[in-house]
């Protein structure tokens, strides 16, 4: 801060204050005049005529009289005069006084604003000079020193970050241990749930709760022999029948349950393998389930018989053909269908299979065949179909193409698996193949 600049600033501020003061004075004078005028106007009509000394030029006076004491010509401005009585003129004067007071108020506030500025600047100046015992902190800027400091700083930052990384890693390792413990405890929970369900089934509690059914509770229980215990383990095993959805039965364990946690599914198999076994139960056909109740759902397990778990990743058109059969089941369920006409769960199946097709060419044939067999078994079951034809997802809209034979489509799509094709091209290809 240069003291010269400050003095210059002070000068300007002082000038502004002086101007305001001058205006203030002027207005005060005006106000004084108007007040005097007001008084004079009040007294003027008291007498019919006043004896006065009339000014005569600059330096002389003359005795005279004021007559017509009530007639007053008032200058309104811009060379306009108006004739008024004394009282009215007094009113005019009052109004003018009011206006002046307003202006005076404004000027006062302006002055109040300017004054502190000046005080502040003078204080600052005093500080600079060190008069008040306050010293200015000056940091000298040396380029070379700054560069050296920059390098040191960078090194320090690097070291710090490494330390943080090390700390994080040690934390992560401890966290991982905790996660695996948690999963172990999950397994324990599942087994516990299984036990409880078994108990309930034996006591017939579960069935008696479903009061919607017209059937008596006995019938429903009779339909379910004790061997056919419905447990979560069964559900998981049932899912294994659906080869489309998973490559390994191990991996499938989590899929059906967590529809929304798709991302985690990929990660969990890496951490933990879940093996299980189930009682060899006959495939519960849909029509059996339906006879039991209005909705046909007697236990949580039934849900999975009716509604296949649906992955939510997108399908490519290639894999759409492979899974044509599956959509029958999903369509009945009235599951949420996206604009491509595919249920989200099926998409994920495709993606997974798609990925697998890319990586492992050998098991391709196996999978597709199992898929085909599964489809056949499913369709042969005579399940209620919302749609008799074969639904091809996503990219194919023409009704003609929908009635393709699944197997032929399979062969074709296997060849083209890795390549994404546009709608129309796919359609054309379909037409060519048929």
């Amino acid at each position: 801060m240069d003291p010269k600049h400050l003095t210059r600033l002070k000068e300007e501020q002082q000038i502004a204050i002086d101007e305001t003061d001058a205006k203030l004075e002027q207005l005060l004078q005006f106000k004084k005049d108007y007040v005097a005028l007001h008084d004079r106007l009040k007294t003027l009509p008291d007498k019919l005529s006043h004896d006065i000394m009339v000014p005569f030029g600059k330096l002389a006076f003359m005795p005279g009289k004021i007559v017509h004491t009530n007639e007053i010509l008032v200058l309104l401005g811009d060379n306009w005069f108006v004739e008024r009585s004394a009282k009215q003129a007094a009113e005019i004067a009052d109004r003018r006084i009011k206006e002046l007071e307003n202006k005076l108020g404004d000027l006062e506030s302006q002055r109040k604003l300017l004054e502190p500025r000046l005080n502040f600047t003078s204080d600052l100046q005093a500080e600079l000079l060190g008069a008040a015992g306050v010293n200015e902190i000056v940091e000298k800027y040396d380029e070379e020193k700054e560069k050296l400091w920059d390098e040191k700083h960078r090194e320090n930052v690097k070291r710090h970050k490494e330390e943080l990384r090390r700390n994080k890693e040690s934390q992560n390792s401890s966290d991982k241990r905790e996660v695996s413990d948690a999963q172990n405890s999950e397994g324990n929970l599942w087994s516990r749930l299984d036990e409880l369900e078994r108990l309930e089934n034996e006591r017939g509690e579960l069935n008696s709760r479903l009061s919607e059914d017209e059937m008596e509770g006995d019938e429903s229980t009779s339909c379910k022999p004790p061997e056919q215990r419905v447990s979560w383990a069964d559900i998981r095993s049932e899912e294994s029948y659906k080869p489309v959805e998973h490559i390994d039965s191990e991996q499938s364990s989590e899929e059906g349950d967590d529809e929304e946690d798709d991302e985690e599914v990929d990660e969990r198999p890496l951490i933990k393998k879940i093996t299980f076994s189930h009682t060899p139960t006959p495939a519960i056909l849909p029509h059996q389930v339906f006879t039991e109740g209005a909705t046909g759902i007697q236990s949580p397990a039934d849900i999975y018989k009716l509604f296949s778990p649906k992955p939510i990743l997108k399908k490519t058109s290639v894999d759409a053909n492979l899974h044509a059969g599956e959509t029958d089941s999903s369509s009945e369920c009235g599951a949420s269908v996206d604009k491509h006409g595919m249920s989200p769960s099926v998409k994920f199946d495709m993606q997974l299979l798609h990925g697998n097709l890319n990586e492992k060419p050998l098991p391709e044939g196996k999978k597709s065949s199992t898929a085909g067999s599964y489809q056949e078994s499913f369709t042969s079951a005579g399940a209620k179909k919302a749609f008799t034809g074969v639904v091809l997802e996503k990219l194919l809209e023409k009704p003609d193409t929908l009635t393709l034979d699944a197997s032929s489509a399979k062969h074709q799509t296997q060849e083209e698996a890795p390549k994404r094709i546009s709608k129309f091209k796919a359609g054309r290809m379909m037409q060519n193949s048929t």
Binding site: V74, L76, G77, D78, N79, W80, F81, V82, E83, R84
Partner: protein
């Protein structure tokens, strides 16, 4: 080379100064108009307060000429409108002049830079 730049600098400076003068003049005019406008508004108010029959006089030179109240009101109103129009016109002119002044200022700066560079070169050469 340096002389040429200097000449250009000089002429540019002159133009800039003339423009600035115009700006100042117009600003002054505008302020005057503003004063007149406020005055006439006051007059209008007072005239409105007047009841019929009161004498209104217009000062023309050393004489006072009697005017009709309604006529006087109309006159004052017209004057007010006229002043407003003038005010707007002046403001526009001021804006344009200021733009010109800015343009001139920029060219001046550029020329100054050039001039300084030319001087430095000359100094280096010599």
């Amino acid at each position: 080379m340096a002389d040429g730049v200097q000449k250009r600098l000089q002429s540019e400076l002159d133009k800039f100064q003339t423009v600035q003068k115009d700006v100042a003049k117009h600003i002054g005019l505008r302020q005057q108009l503003e004063g007149q406008l406020s005055e006439n508004t006051l007059v209008k108010e007072e005239l409105d307060r007047l009841d019929e029959g009161a004498g209104v006089y217009k000062m023309v030179g050393p004489t006072l000429i009697k005017q009709d109240l309604t006529e006087a009101k109309q006159n004052v109103q017209k004057r007010i409108d006229y002043i407003k129009g003038e005010l707007k016109r002046h403001e526009n002119v001021i804006k344009e002049l200021e733009k010109k002044a800015d343009a001139h200022r920029e060219t001046l700066n550029k020329l100054q830079h050039q001039f300084q560079q030319a001087q430095v070169k000359a100094a280096v050469k010599s």
